[in-house]
Structures are given as structure tokens and as C-alpha cells.
């Protein structure tokens, strides 16, 4: 039994899948977190589907001989960046409703392009396009890992160096500019690197898993975790656990690892909403108590008990000592 497990883990397919899962979790805890902070989580699905449209264009150009050098991944990166730029332009002033419309339009456009071009691509190539949609973490090749690894390293470096700026732009764009920050540059830097990461992740594991892992853990963590650092750590943990659970499930029962991981990640959001509700309930009880005790400041002193009552989620206890 144990030997079986060990040989399974040492098989190249499985070890590639595990490395891929860790790298996707890194992308989620950096890019995914920042996009949720910026109120732009819906951009992920737009960018992921743009990658699909771009890949279709690449295959079409290759097949028809118009541009044989045009690898589908180039198309995917190009389209994703384009969507990020359009979204970024619409939202330069920090208004997310406008960005939402821009994402919706680019989403429709890239899917239409993909479906339109499918008629002109030989049927043998079409599954490659669908791979961008469904994907399979067990089919990762070494090139996928290298590209994904490179992006993950880039994202981590950018996050370490510029997280303050990214957060300032998310919290107070107007104030940041007024104090002299080139907010626009950071805004685009974040959107473009995120879209490149999303495109590569989409090629590697498919749009559906990317969407589930990029959005749900970050949205869930942001509901309940009370510090930036805590959210980043919590996203990583939720993402890794759902992906590994997906992989494990795919070996025991015959199921798609992406589907299981997606379902678990989505569940984390449901659980987070529940924790939040329980907390708010506890908070309103506290408020009533405080009203009866004059001079007691709102929301102070109640947090520890309230946090304990929210269940044993370790990640909610991460406390950052340093400024964000």
C-alpha cells in the first residue's frame, strides 16, 4: 500500500502535477489576492477565455500557413494582455463597474473568435483549444512547468517589492496619486503580469480550474481573514489543499482532478460566508452589550472571543507584525 503510494508519487506525471499545483497556488496567492483586493476577480474569467481565443487564432494562423511561427501560446498571451489593457483602461480611475463591462465585452469577443476559428482549424487540432477550457493537471509537460515556474517567481518578486503600492492603489487610488505615486503604472503592472500568469496557467491546467483556484480561495479568505499577509497565506493553503485533494480523488475514484479541486475551492467560499455570518451575529450581540456599558469603545476587546468562536481556521490567526 505504502509502496504503491510512493511509486505513484515518484511517477513523473504525478510529481509534475504536484509541482504544477504548488505553482498555481503561488499565482493565486499573489495575483488572485491582488485582483480580489482591487475588486477585479471577474477579470480572471475574461483573461482565461481570452487565452482560449488567442490560442485558437494561433492554431488558425499556423494551420493556414499565414504565420507558421505563431505558436498558440503567443496568441493566448497576446489576447490576455489585450483584455487586461482594455480592462485597465476602463478602470484607470478605479471604478470597477466600467471594468466589469469591459471584461464582459472582451469575454464575448474572444469566445466568439475561438468558436468562429474552430471551423477553419482541422478537427485534430480542436481538442488543443478545448484543452485551454477544461485542461488536465495530469497532462502538464516540462515546458508548461518552466513557463509557470518563471511566472510564479516573477509574481513573487513583484509582490515582495511592490505590494505596498498595489495595496495603496486598491485602497485609495486618488489619494495615492495626490501624494505623488505613479498609480497608473502600478495599476497596469499588476493587471498585465496577472494576465500573463492567468494565460500560462490556463494553458497548463485549463480555464475552469484557473478560475476556481484564482478567485474562490482569495474571495473566501478576504471575507474572514483580517490582515493582508493572512489573506496571502490562507489563499495559498486553500489552493494547495483543494488541488491536492483533487489529485488524490482522481486516483481513488475515477474523477477529474480539476473538477474536484474546483468544487472544494468553491466550497471554501461558502464556508467563509458562513463564518462571516456567525461572526457578524456575535458582533451584533456584542454591540448590544456595549450599548449597556457606557464608555466602552466599539469593536474593541470583542475580537478575540469572536475569532475563537469562528472555528479552528488556523489561517485566520496569522497576525502581521510589520506594516503590510
Amino acid at each position: 500500500m505504502i509502496e504503491g503510494l510512493l511509486s505513484l508519487l515518484s511517477s513523473p506525471i504525478v510529481s509534475r502535477a504536484i509541482i504544477g499545483a504548488l505553482l498555481i497556488a503561488v499565482v493565486a496567492s499573489t495575483s488572485g489576492t491582488l485582483l480580489v483586493f482591487r475588486g477585479l476577480s471577474f477579470m480572471t474569467s475574461g483573461v482565461a477565455h481570452a487565452a482560449l481565443g488567442g490560442a485558437a487564432l494561433g492554431l488558425y494562423l499556423q494551420y493556414t500557413g499565414i504565420a507558421p511561427w505563431f505558436d498558440p501560446i503567443l496568441g493566448a498571451l497576446l489576447f490576455s494582455t489585450l483584455v487586461a489593457m482594455i480592462t485597465g483602461y476602463a478602470g484607470e480611475t478605479g471604478i470597477s463597474q466600467k471594468m466589469e463591462v469591459a471584461v464582459g465585452v472582451s469575454f464575448a469577443l474572444s469566445m466568439s473568435i475561438a468558436v468562429f476559428l474552430m471551423y477553419y482549424i482541422p478537427p485534430t487540432q480542436v481538442p488543443q483549444i478545448w484543452g485551454y477550457l477544461i485542461g488536465d493537471i495530469l497532462l502538464l509537460d516540462n515546458l508548461d512547468l518552466v513557463l509557470l515556474g518563471g511566472t510564479a517567481v516573477l509574481l513573487v518578486l513583484l509582490f515582495i517589492v511592490f505590494h505596498k503600492e498595489f495595496i495603496y492603489v486598491s485602497v485609495d487610488m486618488e489619494g495615492s496619486i495626490a501624494h505623488g505615486l505613479s498609480a497608473r503604472a502600478y495599476h497596469y503592472l499588476m493587471l498585465i503580469t496577472s494576465s500573463l500568469a492567468i494565460a500560462l496557467a490556463t494553458k497548463a491546467v485549463g480555464a475552469i480550474l484557473v478560475y476556481a483556484i484564482m478567485v474562490a480561495p482569495a474571495a473566501a479568505s478576504n471575507e474572514v481573514v483580517r490582515s493582508v499577509r493572512g489573506v496571502v497565506v490562507s489563499v495559498f493553503i486553500i489552493a494547495v489543499l483543494s488541488e491536492l485533494a483533487g489529485l488524490a480523488a482522481s486516483f481513488t475514484v475515477n474523477a477529474s482532478p480539476s473538477a474536484i479541486a474546483g468544487i472544494i475551492a468553491a466550497m471554501s467560499y461558502v464556508v467563509a460566508m458562513h463564518i462571516k455570518k456567525v461572526r457578524e451575529h456575535a458582533n451584533s450581540d456584542l454591540d448590544e452589550l456595549e450599548l449597556a456599558v457606557p464608555g466602552h469603545e466599539y469593536g474593541h476587546g470583542g475580537e478575540m472571543g469572536e475569532r475563537d468562536s469562528s472555528g479552528g481556521d488556523e489561517s485566520t490567526r496569522v497576525v502581521s507584525e510589520e506594516p503590510v
Binding site: 480580489v36 483586493f37 511592490f162 495595496i167 486598491s170 485602497v171 496619486i177 505615486l181 489573506v231
Partner: protein, 267 residues
């Protein structure tokens, strides 16, 4: 020798697909000053601040802050000001801590990686103490009440550096206690330090004993003067309509209007 704090000449500002928000605005205020800009909703108060900061471009005319032109010298202006935007411009989705909001005012004027020094932290603590919020140092900003958040944002301005504080409706959506505290802290800070304060507000009453100059705005300049001069029934009727009344109480004039809500953006 006194310098000019804020000076506008024929300033006209229009939003890309909107109407004219400011029309032919001309005035000048000398330093040092605690200046209030008052007027009802949509009278162009926020627009005036944003234009002065170079965040909006005038279609004609000009505005200068401490002698720097808003369009050509916005970089210089941004080194001089500490700005608190209207409260609906602050996003509450990020679980940023109170300390990080306050440090932001100082760190934004540094270069990346913008590490907070011991001095930065000490000054941030002192600023929070002034607004009675220091015990919330490690508390998430988005869990505070409206009044507490405004106090923290005022602390951010106090902790930062630069000769001009610009605050857009710092009293909006706050409880009476926070209002009193913010007004008192700003008044004291202005007299103790060599700084100018430009504060947009709906309601002059809470601050009229601290301010030096009041600009009455309704798309254009209706009046400019000392608080008691501006508390003139004829002027206030022009700004607030016929519901405005001036009452005298304990040697001070108070203005009573029906317009006491919170300013809102329409974007």
C-alpha cells in the same frame, strides 16, 4: 512676507461627458490659512480640490497652489500636499491595518520599497494619539465605524509631511464626538505648526471659530471672506436657496440650512 496659498483665475472645469462643474472661478487666499470651502452637493468643491492637485485638467483658466500651476507643476504640488479624499473614494475591500493607512501618508513620499523607519512609526503613533485612535493601531481599517475611519484618515494627513493639508469632507458620515475631535485637532495643528489647511465641508458651523477664510462655492465663487462676513443671509441664500437662515447665538453666527446630508459622487 505672505505667499499665496491658493489662487484661481477664470478656472473652468468640465468632466468628459458631464456638464461644467466649475465656471470662471477666480479668487486668491494668502498663507498661512485654515481655509474652508463650503457649498451644497454638486457645487464643485471636490472638483476644485482635484483640479488644484492636477487630477483634473481645466478647459480654461488656471489654479495655483503655493505658486505652482496645477497642470504644469503637479509633481511639485504633490510633494507639498497631504490629501484626504472624500470618504466614498476609499475602498474597504482590503483588510489593511489602521497603522498601514497612517504610515501610507509618509511612505508614499518615499521610494520603493518604502520601509517604515522607527521615526515613521513614532510619528504615526503620535498622529493616532491626537485623534484618540492609537489603541486601534493593529485593527483592520475596514472594521471601524465611519467616524473612526475619518479620524484615522485625518491622522494619516497629520503624520505625513508637507505644508498643505487638503481634506475633502472629513466630517461627512461621522458621529458628533468624532466631528468635534477632528475639528479641534485640525484647529490646534494649524496654530501649533506652520501648515495650511484647506477643508471642504458642507457645513461651516462646526469649524467657523477655527477657520480664517471661507470660500462659498456654487459652480463659481459666491463669496470669500472671514466666517462672520460669509455668514450673510443674502450670500447664503444664493448658495443654499431660501431654506438658509442665519442665527446668532452666544456671539457667533450660525447658518441653518436643510442641506446637511453627505456629498455624493455621481460616477
Amino acid at each position: 512676507m505672505s505667499e499665496t496659498l491658493l489662487e484661481a483665475h477664470g478656472l473652468t472645469v468640465r468632466y468628459p461627458e458631464g456638464e461644467v462643474a466649475l465656471k470662471d472661478v477666480t479668487f486668491s487666499v494668502e498663507t498661512p490659512s485654515f481655509m474652508a470651502i463650503i457649498g451644497p452637493n454638486g457645487s464643485g468643491k471636490s472638483t476644485l480640490l482635484k483640479t488644484a492637485l492636477g487630477l483634473l485638467r481645466p478647459i480654461s483658466g488656471s489654479i495655483r497652489l503655493l505658486g505652482h500651476d496645477s497642470t504644469r507643476e503637479s509633481a511639485a504640488i504633490r510633494r507639498l500636499v497631504r490629501y484626504v479624499p472624500q470618504r466614498d473614494r476609499i475602498e474597504l475591500t482590503v483588510p489593511i491595518k489602521v497603522k498601514d493607512i497612517v504610515l501610507m501618508g509618509r511612505l508614499l513620499k518615499k521610494r520603493p520599497p518604502r520601509i517604515a523607519s522607527r521615526t515613521d512609526k513614532r510619528i504615526a503613533h503620535e498622529a493616532l494619539q491626537r485623534v484618540n485612535m492609537d489603541e486601534f493601531w493593529d485593527h483592520p481599517f475596514n472594521e471601524l465605524s465611519g467616524g473612526q475611519r475619518q479620524r484615522v484618515l485625518v491622522a494619516r494627513a497629520l503624520a505625513a509631511e508637507g505644508p498643505v493639508l487638503m481634506l475633502d469632507e472629513p466630517l461627512a458620515g461621522t458621529d458628533a464626538e468624532s466631528q468635534r475631535l477632528i475639528v479641534q485637532v485640525l484647529g490646534e495643528y494649524h496654530t501649533e505648526n506652520d501648515v495650511n489647511i484647506i477643508m471642504v465641508t458642507h457645513d461651516l458651523n462646526p469649524i467657523h471659530s477655527y477657520v480664517d477664510n471661507v470660500l462659498l462655492l456654487r459652480r463659481t465663487v459666491i463669496g470669500l471672506g472671514k466666517p462672520c462676513d460669509v455668514m450673510d443671509p443674502a450670500l447664503l441664500t444664493q448658495v443654499y436657496g431660501h431654506s438658509a437662515r442665519v442665527v446668532e447665538y452666544a456671539g457667533h453666527r450660525y447658518c441653518v440650512t436643510r442641506d446637511t446630508g453627505v456629498d455624493r459622487h455621481h460616477d
